[in-house]
Subunit: 362 residues, 2 copies
């Protein structure tokens, strides 16, 4: 089957670019003695998690237990659930998961840690704990000054096992000089945190960091020994805009078809927010919901669920039935909208993978 | 099972409100001799389509062939695909669909109509055609002055059958007086269109209109004899803001749990853009991604995929593990993110339905 024979909208993965992205990240982390534990929220597909592990990843990161369960079902043995597990139903599932895989969870409160401790007791297995520290994104994570006390309390639990600290550098983007400066500053902050822990006799086995826009400089965080980057497998408009990769590093495109040219000055494509999501591009001057590969001057300026509005006039205006390809703004959320993706080498479709962990919100 | 025992995030449907919404719309349309053909993009669930048909709907509207196929598989016999069918793969599926259900499609070009004509020929069945006219949303639809010529050409096709015209009144929102004035203006425009068609000897059997924010005034469009409203089954923040329904008419809520309170001045809930989508509220002064039922002064101001950021301070600040319920901004896109919904009467969960036509982008 040829790529052009796939009906639209469809998610296409260029396997050559994908393999190069996976290899490059693995080699970089290996060279700098950083354990790569990719976040699979980007792809949600067990076969791709296996590709990452075969290339050298030590395990994977997931956001939700439902994703962890899909990956464990597919034989992935080492899982970090980088999200606080709250509530009786989820703790039962965590215990069950721990019986069949090596599991670590990230959290930011002693209350959540106590639940994990009970789950570990029920499972009769160790469950690792990373304490999330707020690295400046003000999302989850304890304040740096509260980190030692919380780590100490968790280290005293009987069944859960304190493994270390989780940081996140998602805000570090920009040109190489800017990123290098920010990473060196972040290195100072992380070293300060770890020094304080060590003064308290707390020696973390794992210091976890991320993300894709600064993966190429992860070695600048001298004591961060694990990296959870995810987006690097596919890349997207955001990662290109963040300054660390090029358009040629984008492995995923969405194929769409022009279905209406009735209104002057625009065309309607058969992908809207149900195909692309409404996520805007970070750090971009324009409001387009993706880069149109055939003509990057065209803008996907507006969407309804099934209608994409592309401004287009004159000779540049695609015709009814024309096929276009878009590099999405934020690739992780796009993959989550689709039941399957098509893998191709050049023009030949070589496989179709279900997005097995799609929609696992719990 | 109690509602409070369902793990979060979860989509909850209050069956009493749902039934009242379905009944009210059906009675209103029956009273005014308007055929109700609800758009199932809102719910994507065959059992609910059957509830609508049992209440009096003449059939359903869908956006994509994939949705139509799911509904035909479930025994729905009369389908309007309110979207241009473009490309060989889709025309084959359209022919196949026409062999097992009564199918009408909406389109806005003769080129698309020719494809539908071939599909009808291949199926050996009539396929109805509505010509979409641009009612002012500038999405799909021919300009009013081009409508007669296109209808005439399509009426001359051998296998496709011209049934009439599709309009859309989604832009008509506001207080009752405003809506009434806008609907009367729209009535004049539609009458003008139809008069022009009739002068050309074209008598449409179907004149289709919508949407939920003006469903209660659909009788003001004197010659619109079919209504495609969809959102009325559940309603949402947008329909309440549009002025036509109240919070008590909102049948769908999303249950979430507080998973982090580590950062001062906010809480993190376990639903983000993968639960709610990033759709902003239309016509709302605030930027919240939903109305928090327990305390509508709280705002869901920001989301990552799995993290919802709710501003909350002082006594109003929910605690770790607390459960909150949100009425989403745009209910159709929220349902599309979830694999199943839970139906409840009062506090008792009475059923769980798969969202069978979820994610059907093709």
């Amino acid at each position: 089957m040829r790529v052009s024979e796939i009906d639209t909208p469809a998610v296409l993965i260029d396997v050559e670019i994908l393999e190069r992205n996976v290899r490059r990240a693995a080699e970089h982390c290996r060279k700098h003695h950083v354990a790569l534990r990719p976040h699979i929220k980007t792809h949600k597909m067990p076969p791709l998690a296996h590709v990452q592990i075969e290339a050298g990843a030590v395990g994977i990161s997931v956001a939700k237990l439902g994703e962890a369960e899909v990956m464990a079902d597919a034989g992935i043995q080492d899982l970090l659930v980088a999200y606080p597990i709250v509530g009786a139903a989820k703790l039962r599932r965590l215990a069950s998961l721990a019986e069949r895989a090596r599991v670590t969870v990230a959290l930011d409160s002693f209350e959540v840690a106590e639940g994990v401790d009970r789950a570990a007791r029920d499972a009769g297995r160790e469950i690792g704990v990373l304490v999330e520290v707020d690295s400046g994104t003000a999302r989850c994570g304890v304040a740096p000054e509260e980190l030692p006390a919380l780590c100490r309390r968790i280290a005293g639990l009987r069944h859960a096992r304190w493994h270390g600290v989780m940081t996140y550098q998602g805000y570090i983007t920009g040109d190489p000089e800017t990123r290098e400066r920010l990473m060196r500053e972040e290195n100072g902050r992380v070293n300060g945190l770890l020094d304080r822990l060590e003064r308290d006799g707390l020696r973390p086995k794992v210091v976890s960091g991320a993300s894709t826009p600064n993966l190429d400089l992860c070695q600048l965080l001298e004591r961060v020994n694990e990296n959870r980057s995810g987006t690097y497998v596919f890349n997207d408009r955001n990662t290109v805009n963040s300054g660390s990769v090029r358009w040629e590093d984008c492995a995923l495109r969405v194929a769409v078809t022009v279905v209406s040219t009735a209104v002057p000055g625009q065309i309607i494509i058969d992908g809207g927010s149900k195909t692309f999501t409404s996520d805007r591009a970070a750090g971009s001057a324009d409001a387009s919901f993706g880069r149109i590969v055939e003509d990057p001057t065209l803008q996907l300026v507006k969407m309804n669920e099934e209608h994409g509005f592309v401004q287009a006039e004159g000779a540049a205006r695609p015709k009814l039935g024309d096929r276009l390809h878009l590099i999405p703004n934020h690739v992780c959320v796009v993959v989550n909208m689709h039941d399957q993706v098509y893998l191709h080498r050049g023009d030949e479709v070589i496989d179709c993978w279900p997005v097995a962990a799609r929609g696992k919100v719990r």
